[in-house]
Amino acid sequence: MLKITDLKVNYGGIEAVKGISFEVPGKSIVTLIGANGAGKSTTLRTISGLVRPASGKIEFLGEDITGMDVPTIVSKGITLVPEGRRIFPDLTVLENLRLGAYLRKDNIDSDLNWIFDLFPRLKERQWQLGGTLSGGEQQMLAVGRALMSRPKLLMMDEPSLGLAPLVVRDIFRIIKRINEEGVTILLIEQNANMALQTADIGYVLETGRITMSGTGSELLSNPAVKEAYLGS
């Protein structure tokens, strides 16, 4: 579904991503793990068009989308849950959710109910301004907002950041569920344990390069991964 070939990205003089290639097959869950600053977020930002790559190619459903502008890429069905939530603080929860469905022309009411089912807390707070939500509530909103666009490919940058343990489990459950509904998922997680358990395929990123890859369970049992990312 998504194919990245030899992608390189620089910030000013810093090489953040140094030529990576990987694929995300349709209907799968793929995860990128790696230490802080490895270039995970940069990769996702590049795919969504927020950052322009220095070289390399990004193909989505067979179409070259490298260098297209963000709204166009979004309209093709790629949605990003950005790092740091990026809620619209002056808009209410409901409006934030509606904006998620900005490009959709069909009725979104049933989807709203679906999101409220997933996150009852948001329903309670639907008239509150996004900026005043607690950290975890904002994270739920960010995920919910992305789901509202009914993406083909959903990219999530650390969706469990700052969430309570119970909710973290929920989030992973939701990820599985929407995946089963046919949405392809590209996931970044610090919680490598859970991520690898959930994912079909995992890639390990180290300072801008892919150093290991395999199925989720392969990586889970890989001693090097264990040592570096699983913490035991």
């Binding site: 979004v74 990026r86 619209f88 002056d90 998620g100 900026g131």
Partner: protein, 294 residues
């Protein structure tokens, strides 16, 4: 009756000036709302609308000149945004503001260059230029039309911003370009729409204003521009109803002060009032409190 006779002109003038200020102030507030930019060029756009109208009516009938004027100003507003502000999307906020000051200088200086600088007389627009007498006070029809028209436009705008998709997009873009794009919003389109609406309001405002105050000079826009900006701040910059209320407040107070004989300080008083209000309410009457959660 005598009392009314003596004081009605001040109040009428206040309401009418307030309405005209309101139309310009909305332009400021909208642009500020979306770009966090004090668009210093807005007042000069207003002046340009006046001048262009004068040149247009010199050779065209009014019913062509008026729509043409509106179109030209909308296009001008659009171009200003594209040329002077868009390249600076990622620059420090102050740089865009300087660019705005640059545009303001440019419009003024081009006007000076073209017109020579002498005051031009604004054409008479039938009906609204007529004099009417209410309670013995003589004034122009435009004085009465302005507040009504202003209110209609404001209600329409508030509805647009609060209840439509583009309105929601405008509010989203104002806070965060990047995430707005991630929602699929074409931010350039949204910003352009904002500028076009703001410019159109300035053009309409200029027709009402210059029908009342018929001399147009290259600096005709700067004082109304400043006053309207003050009005926008008064009401809480970014808030459309705030801008309108601020504009009426300033217009009326200013004229009452003049009527009381404190003419020397009518402007100073406007600023003093503004400062007092800001001290009581640091983000203006209807200003949004910062929702920056710690």
């Amino acid at each position: 009756m005598d009392f009314i006779n003596q004081n009605l002109p001040y109040i009428l003038a206040g309401i009418s000036v307030g309405g005209q200020y309101a139309l310009i102030a909305i332009g400021y507030t909208m642009v500020y709302g979306i770009l966090r930019l004090i668009n210093f060029a807005h007042g000069d756009l207003f002046m340009a609308a006046g001048l262009i109208m004068i040149y247009l009516t010199a050779s065209l009938p009014l019913y062509i000149a008026i729509p043409l004027d509106l179109i030209i100003i909308a296009v001008l507003g659009f171009l200003i945004e594209r040329v002077a502000y868009k390249p600076l999307r990622n620059a420090p906020r102050m740089s865009i503001m300087i660019s705005a000051i640059g545009v303001s200088y440019l419009l003024q200086n081009v006007a000076l260059y073209v017109t020579g600088g002498l005051a031009k007389t604004y054409p008479t627009i039938p009906w609204i230029s007529n004099s009417v007498t209410i309670f013995g006070a003589t004034t122009k029809v435009v004085t009465l039309v302005t507040p009504v028209l202003t209110l209609i436009l404001v209600v329409a705008l508030v509805l647009l911003i609060n209840n439509t998709k583009i309105g929601m997009a405008m509010r989203a873009v104002s806070r965060d370009f990047e995430t707005s794009q991630l929602m699929g919003i074409k931010i350039n389109t949204v910003i352009s729409v904002t500028f076009i609406i703001g410019s159109l309001l300035a053009a309409v405002g200029s027709m009402l204003y210059f029908t009342n105050y018929t001399a147009v000079t290259p600096i005709s826009g700067s004082m109304p521009g400043l006053k309207c900006f003050v009005a926008a701040v008064f009401g809480g910059i970014g808030s459309i109803p705030g801008a309108v209320i601020g504009a009426f407040l300033i217009g009326i107070c200013e004229n009452i002060i003049k009527g009381l004989g404190w003419t020397t300080f009518s402007d100073a008083f406007t600023f003093a009032l503004l400062i007092v209000i800001l001290i009581a309410k640091p983000t203006g009457l209807f200003g949004e409190k910062s929702t920056d959660k710690v």
